[in-house]
Amino acid sequence: MAKFLRVNMSDGTVTQESPCEQYKHLGGRALTSRIVADEVAPTCHPLGPSNKVVLAPGLVTGTHAPSSGRISVGAKSPLTGGIKESNAGTPFSQQMGRMQIKALIIEGQAEEGFWLLVLDESGLRLQQADDLAGMGMSDVVDTLTERFGEHAGVMGIGPAGEMKMSMAGICFNDNENRASRYSGRGGLGAVLGAKGVKALVIDDTDAPGVEIKDQEMFRQGTRKLSDALREHEVTRPGGTLNSYGTAALINVLSEAGGLPVCNFSGGTYEEADDISGETIARMIEERGGEGMTGHSCHPGCIIQCSNVWPKEDGSEHVSVIEYESDWALGANLGISDLDAIAEMIRLCNDIGVDTIETGVTLGVAMEAGVAEFGDADRAIELIKEIGEGTPLGRILGQGAEVTGRVFGVTRVPTVKGQGMPAYEPRAVKGIGITYATTPMGADHTAGYTIGPEILAVGGEEDPLSPEGKAEISRDLQVATAFLDSTGYCLFTAFAILDIDSGFEGMVESVAGVLGTDWTADDATSLGEDVLDWEREFNRQAGFTRADDRLPEFMKLEKLPPHNQVYDVTDEELDRVHGE
């Protein structure tokens, strides 16, 4: 039977519950957001005892459905002050799914010290974890897999989470037990740290597996979806995602004039190709050794877009150099040395911070003169300071908005306190609408208009025109809220937006697990509900229309090469959610 597990860190009690009716058909983001909305006071301090961390695998996660190993983590965010869901691809999620744990709710606050949670079929136990405190995530995963075996999955926080930094993420193990898969955004690592949880080990030995109510429907659905993923030119084996990884986007965005450079002061990067997916793939091949493209973050992925970057001698340096990290710590800082970028990603993974927020923060710090744009050595030192918790590191660790305020910088690319990802709104108008209006703060994944605006996937739109973009952003936000609830990777969207039977198959696979007769309309309706719950939480937390705006500098400063300001009107932004 599907269950909720609840651990109270204030008194150490663990309870098992049967989910009530209203939660029965929810998973992933829908479930984390519903539980946070139901149980967390919107006005609570994100780092206090009233906040809760909710983990939920997607509805099909743990089954054989392709590319479905996502886990959602929800809480009130210390970075945005609003509701947050951040998801990651990891075998950890599949173990949770197979153990039929629909949600794990971590509440209260430990009086002192850090704790390890051990979760297996006999239940959940708390162990003192003073030996793990202060440890980087790489050592945490190594220590725990040695102690609990290679099969154990690990979730945890690095020193940044222990120090309750707003850029701290929650780390999960990858397929080969690297500390590399992050629910990075929104400072959820700080919330876990505030509760006194350093790590959680999961072992699904003897787990019953995901209950599938209608096997025939499920099989039919997963077959259609698999066919679509294998057929579509970007998701298929040997397609661009598989061959070049997500950083294949670097050159496209730069050529479109929409790659933010040197803290959002330009839209094209002269050295783009030096850090591109093409160059990453070429150098991995040339260096040989332990490097690889076509790496997967969890078993059962058809797309396999991850990579392992090797040092010059072929030994492993880091996994993974993906587009957002590559941009944030590369183009956004004027740094074009892939080995330096790899080292920064390795440090972020170990310290336990979001690579996007780190890169955006360093961009603001460089703007303030803390370092020169292009100075990779200094950038590496600054990330180390975050991990060491020096006074400067503590400031940077609170993210771009705080850093901008401390240093008197006005060019601070954030929405709701969260740093913008790798797409410049002045050159790609629709993505700015998503940044402004998603409940998550500046988040590209929340409604990826880059598909139609830049990649010509799911339609073709002029990126420089504001026309019709409110509807496009809204529809994608709804579809994404559904997708984030299924456990399917967002990249499946590239295939299902273009291939109708793929989308049908996705909905059928979910309906098969739940034993419902869901159609596309039900998927849309769930997505709309999720956005409503999240927006209502934010409203009660004090958010208004004024928070659904881009920073003022984007309306004042023209961005080369198109020399445009952000010209989507406030009325248009407010139209997205029908207000």
């Binding site: 050159n251 050529e255 839209g267 093409e278 587009y323 957002e324």
Partner: protein, 81 residues
């Protein structure tokens, strides 16, 4: 004659002689189009998903000005991670 800087990306670099960085400096007749560039290099147009001319998305029939930068891509996605 006009000159154009042509940049070829991802899988399309297989059609170049020196596919290291995919940058070509080409001399073309006045009035040449994006399609003419593809034909000169030998890139099948059905493998081209999109083209940017001077940072704007362009169709195959777009005529090139002297000094144009032409960027040619196969289907690409990514970056949601």
């Amino acid at each position: 004659m006009i000159e154009a800087e042509v940049r070829v990306y991802a899988t399309l670099r297989q059609y170049l002689d020196q596919h290291d960085r995919g940058v070509l400096h080409m001399e073309l007749a006045e009035g040449s189009t994006v399609a003419d560039v593809l034909q000169r290099i030998g890139i099948p147009s059905d493998e081209v998903k999109q083209v940017f001319v001077d940072n704007r998305r362009a169709g195959l029939d777009v005529q090139l000005d002297d000094g144009a930068r032409v960027s040619i891509f196969p289907p690409i996605a990514g970056g949601l991670g």
